[in-house]
Structure formats: structure tokens, C-alpha cells
């Protein structure tokens, strides 16, 4: 049985008598420790898939099973790294991670252990130097690193990342991608990442889930990326497997499932 499985997941939003089907028949099985990216044009409902797995949205049809148990509410076993970091601006970096750790690991770890665990996770993303700063005093890349530390500190079964590097400049993004790969390699987390960046998807993922365009979007194709880890972006630039995977995703997105507005 799969670690995490989505079966026949669909969602329809109702607003003022009108209803629009955003997702239909999404089926996906994810193994433990696997890194899966979901890619698609904006508005195709890829973030909606993530929110359903997170429990922040309820599927209209079908359901999600995590280790055989149905997902029907948000929880720390499916920690989310939000697109816009979502740090609480009135708390320092340490307090932001601490809020999650103290709530989630209460009873599992003593106060001293929790405080050590907060430091450990900040160190994991190299943020110890700014632990006492507030979010508005640090850069966008640093905020996202704190968001990752907060999510990892919850010891999630599945880590959900919603376009985690979308708002960052190219250099910071590359740096954080490398860091994410390295951490995932070390902790063997199961990760679902939403992205619209083809290179990011190919570089980080074991499998790339490509979504068709909405309305009624669904999974168009799943592409395995059989590249050995650890992966180094420089080595991969001319790697045949990498180039081939990249071409396949591009072909899916821009030839077969080009966004109607863009194609016109």
C-alpha cells in the first residue's frame, strides 16, 4: 500500500449559485521518502491539490489516505511551507519556529529538548545568525528558510511545499533548492512540491506530476526522473537523462497543454 494516496480526488467550488469544477479524478500514489513535484500552468489547481492533502480544503469527491488513515483536517503530520512564507510578523524567527514546536511536540519532548530542537532546525537552514530578528528585518530568501525550518521542526510525515521558491530571485532560489535537496537527502522526508519552474521540478524530483489545464484539471502525465542522488546542478546541465526529462516537461506544458490564453 502506498504511503500517501489520492484517489478520485475532485473539488467543485460553489459561489452564488454558480459552481465550477476545479479538479476531477486526481489519482496519485506516493511512496515513503519520495520527492514529487506537481507542475502545471497557473490556475490549473495544483495548489488546490496541495491544500486538499494539507487538509485546508475538503475534496468534493474521493479522498486522501496517509498511512491508511483518511485525511480530513489540517495537522502537523502534513506540515506546509507556504508560498509567501506566512511567518507571524510580531514574533522573532526563533519564536515563529518555537510556536510550532511548542504546540506540536508538547508531551513528546521536554522544554529543554524543545528549545534545543528549535535551535537544531534553525541551524539546519543556516538561520542561527538571525534567530532574534523579526521577519520584516530579514530578506525574502531568509524568510522562506525559516518557513522551511518551521515545517521541518514539526517532524512531518509528509512535507508539503507550495511554490516555496517562487517569489525569490534566481540566485537565492538555486541556493535554497540545493539546501532543500541536501536536507531531504539527510532526513529522507516524503515531499510534495508545487512549482511552475521546469528546471526546479526536474532537478529536485523523483517524479514529476504534470497537470492539465482547468477547469476540471487532472493529472495529464507522470514523468519519473531517474537521476542518481546527490544531484549537482552543474553536472546535470548536459546530462542526457536531465535534458530528456526537461524536454518532456516542456513539451507537455507548451505543446500538448499550452495555456489557451497563451496559445491564442
Amino acid at each position: 500500500m502506498a504511503h500517501l494516496s489520492l484517489s478520485q480526488v475532485g473539488i467543485t467550488f460553489h459561489r452564488g449559485g454558480k459552481s465550477s469544477e476545479v479538479l476531477r479524478d486526481v489519482n496519485l500514489d506516493i511512496a515513503k521518502g519520495e520527492f514529487v513535484s506537481i507542475i502545471g500552468h497557473s490556475g490549473c489547481g495544483k495548489s488546490t491539490v496541495l491544500n486538499i492533502v494539507a487538509g485546508l480544503l475538503k475534496a468534493s469527491t474521493g479522498g486522501v489516505l496517509l498511512d491508511g488513515k483518511e485525511v480530513n483536517a489540517p495537522g502537523p503530520d502534513r506540515a506546509v511551507v507556504f508560498q509567501n512564507h506566512s511567518l507571524l510578523p510580531w514574533l522573532t524567527v526563533r519564536e515563529n519556529v518555537g510556536l510550532a514546536v511548542d504546540k506540536v511536540l508538547k508531551g513528546k519532548k521536554s522544554r529543554a529538548e524543545r528549545s534545543q530542537w528549535i535551535e537544531h532546525n534553525l541551524a539546519l537552514v543556516n538561520m542561527m545568525h538571525a534567530a532574534d530578528k523579526r521577519p520584516n528585518e530579514i530578506s525574502g530568501g531568509m524568510k522562506q528558510r525559516v518557513g522551511i525550518a518551521r515545517a521541518l521542526a514539526m517532524e512531518p510525515t509528509v512535507l508539503l511545499m507550495d511554490e516555496p521558491f517562487g517569489a525569490l530571485d534566481a540566485l537565492t532560489r538555486a541556493h535554497l533548492q540545493d539546501q532543500t535537496m541536501e536536507i531531504q537527502q539527510r532526513l529522507k522526508n516524503t515531499v510534495i512540491m508545487i512549482t511552475h519552474d521546469v528546471d526546479e521540478a526536474v532537478l529536485l524530483s523523483d517524479r514529476i506530476v504534470m497537470m492539465t489545464n482547468g477547469p476540471s484539471a487532472t493529472i495529464g502525465e507522470i514523468l519519473p526522473v531517474p537521476l542518481a542522488r546527490p544531484r549537482r546542478r552543474l553536472d546535470l546541465v548536459e546530462d542526457a537523462t536531465y535534458v530528456h526529462a526537461r524536454a518532456a516537461v516542456l513539451e507537455f506544458l507548451y505543446a500538448r497543454h499550452a495555456k489557451p490564453a497563451l496559445a491564442a
Binding site: A54, G55, G75, R78, V80, P89, W90, L91, P135
Partner: protein
């Protein structure tokens, strides 16, 4: 090595000497630029007043006569001859006590009701129209009703303060709660904060800038209301003091009391505003 250190030190000393007077001068200039205009305007205003009211037939005393007539209450605000014959300090303290009590009750009830209205659509639809009507009732219109209910001046005055200052607190808190970003709610959902933790750790800090706007309006309104309410209920209090002075035709004492009322109102406003800045340091910059 030693010479180098001495040289550096000497250079620093010279630089400091050269810099120090310049900074002081600029600082002085800055202070003067802010302090002088209000002082000049105040002096001009007092002069105008003096001129306008200097004729013996004038209805109001000029500032010079205000000071000479009311000199004993100006220099000794702490006397206490028993009953309501007390110095200004005691009257103001009594008024502030009523405001503190009524306003504190309004803060607690206002933030709770505001949270309810901000959080629940049903409560919003049910309560908002009622609030919108009740909040337009002038503070003093509540006084007879509260006298009838409490049968005593003291709790009635506190109730008037409460009912006057609660509306801006409720309305601003509700807006603040409605404006909590969905992101913060998602974070709270993922780490499974319970409702009380959510209220304390997410709602209050996130809505704090709005809440403090409400508090600032509320404290201003309650200071407005207390003076009027005390004129009617009597007893010790700055409102009664003014009314009593009018009944004994001590116009100069009224003017001195008004200066105090204005200054205290200003201080109250600044206190709440300052507290707001302190508490919302992180939030408002988000």
C-alpha cells in the same frame, strides 16, 4: 604602535570636539523648530484674549485675572477640606478613577464582542445593525436610564463611560479580526492551535493595530463623557467641580479646570497611542 594609538585617539578627540557643538546646535534647532511655533501661537492667543476681555464690562475674565483670582487652586491642587471642597488633583483623580474603571470594562467587553462579530458571520448579521443604532445614542442619554437601573450616581457614571467607549472598540476589533490574513489562519490550522491559543497567539496580535485605534477613540470619548456625566451626578469629580464653580460664579476656576481637562485628555490619548506603538511594533510593519 603606541604612537599610532595616541595619534588615532588624538584625531578622534579633535573630531569629537569639532563635531560636538555642531550636533548640539542642530539638535537645538530641531527642538526649537517644534517647540517655538506653538509657544508663539499660545502667547499671541493669550495676548488677544487679554485685550478682548480687558474692559470691565466683558463677560469673561482676561488671563491675568484668571491667574490672580484662581491662584489658590492653581498653587495648591492637593488641599482637602472634606466633602466636595477638595483641590483639583482630587477631583481629577476621582474622574480618572471612573474613566479607568468604565474604560477597562469596555476594553474587555469590546474586544470580546468585536472578536465575536469579526469571527462569526451570523453574529455579524445579528449584532451589527443593533450596534450601529446604539452607538449613535449620545452618552448622556444613557444617564437617566442607568440611574434608574443602578439607583446610585457612582455606578451610573461608570456605566456611561462604558457604554460610550465600547462602540469604537467593538467596531475596530471586528474589522481587525476580519482582516487577519488567511495565511495566519492556515498556520494555526496546521499546528492545530485550539480556539483559546488561536485567540491569544494569532487574533490579538494580528488585530492589535486595529484594536488600538478603537481604544484611542474610546478613551477620548470617555473623557468627553465623564465631565458631562459628573455635572449631573455630583460628588467629587472634575465635571462637578466645573458645575459647582459655575453655580458660585467662579469663572476663573472654570477656566483653570478646563485647561486641566484638556491637558489630561491629551495625555490619555498619547498614553494609549504610545502603548499601541509599543505593543504593535512587529505587526504594523508587516
Amino acid at each position: 604602535m603606541a604612537t599610532g594609538a595616541t595619534l588615532t585617539a588624538a584625531r578622534e578627540r579633535t573630531a569629537a570636539k569639532a563635531r560636538a557643538p555642531f550636533i548640539t546646535l542642530a539638535g537645538l534647532r530641531g527642538v526649537a523648530a517644534r517647540v517655538l511655533p506653538p509657544l508663539i501661537v499660545l502667547a499671541g492667543f493669550l495676548l488677544l484674549w487679554e485685550v478682548l476681555c480687558s474692559s470691565p464690562t466683558a463677560g469673561l475674565p482676561p488671563p491675568s485675572r484668571v491667574v490672580s483670582e484662581a491662584w489658590d487652586i492653581i498653587i495648591d491642587p492637593f488641599y482637602d477640606n472634606g466633602g466636595t471642597d477638595k483641590g483639583l488633583f482630587w477631583h481629577i483623580a476621582a474622574s480618572l478613577k471612573r474613566v479607568a474603571l468604565g474604560f477597562s470594562l469596555a476594553v474587555v467587553a469590546g474586544v470580546m464582542l468585536g472578536t465575536l462579530v469579526g469571527q462569526s458571520d451570523w453574529a455579524m448579521r445579528g449584532l451589527d445593525p443593533i450596534f450601529q443604532i446604539l452607538r449613535t445614542i449620545p452618552p448622556l442619554a444613557w444617564l437617566p436610564l442607568s440611574l434608574a437601573a443602578f439607583r446610585d450616581g457612582q455606578p451610573s457614571a461608570i456605566f456611561v463611560i462604558f457604554i460610550t467607549s465600547i462602540w469604537p472598540i467593538i467596531i475596530n476589533t471586528a474589522v481587525g479580526i476580519r482582516n487577519i490574513p488567511q495565511d495566519y489562519r492556515n498556520v494555526a490550522a496546521v499546528i492545530r492551535l485550539n480556539p483559546i491559543e488561536f485567540f491569544v497567539k494569532i487574533m490579538l496580535p494580528s488585530a492589535a493595530p486595529y484594536i488600538f485605534t478603537g481604544l484611542r477613540i474610546g478613551v477620548g470619548l470617555s473623557w468627553l463623557a465623564i465631565v458631562a456625566a459628573e455635572m449631573l451626578i455630583g460628588g467629587v469629580g472634575i465635571g462637578f467641580f466645573i458645575w459647582d464653580a459655575w453655580n458660585s460664579s467662579h469663572i476663573s476656576e472654570i477656566i483653570v479646570a478646563l485647561v486641566y481637562v484638556g491637558l489630561i485628555g491629551f495625555v490619555l490619548d498619547r498614553l494609549v497611542a504610545g502603548l499601541g506603538v509599543l505593543v504593535t511594533r512587529g505587526t504594523s510593519a508587516a
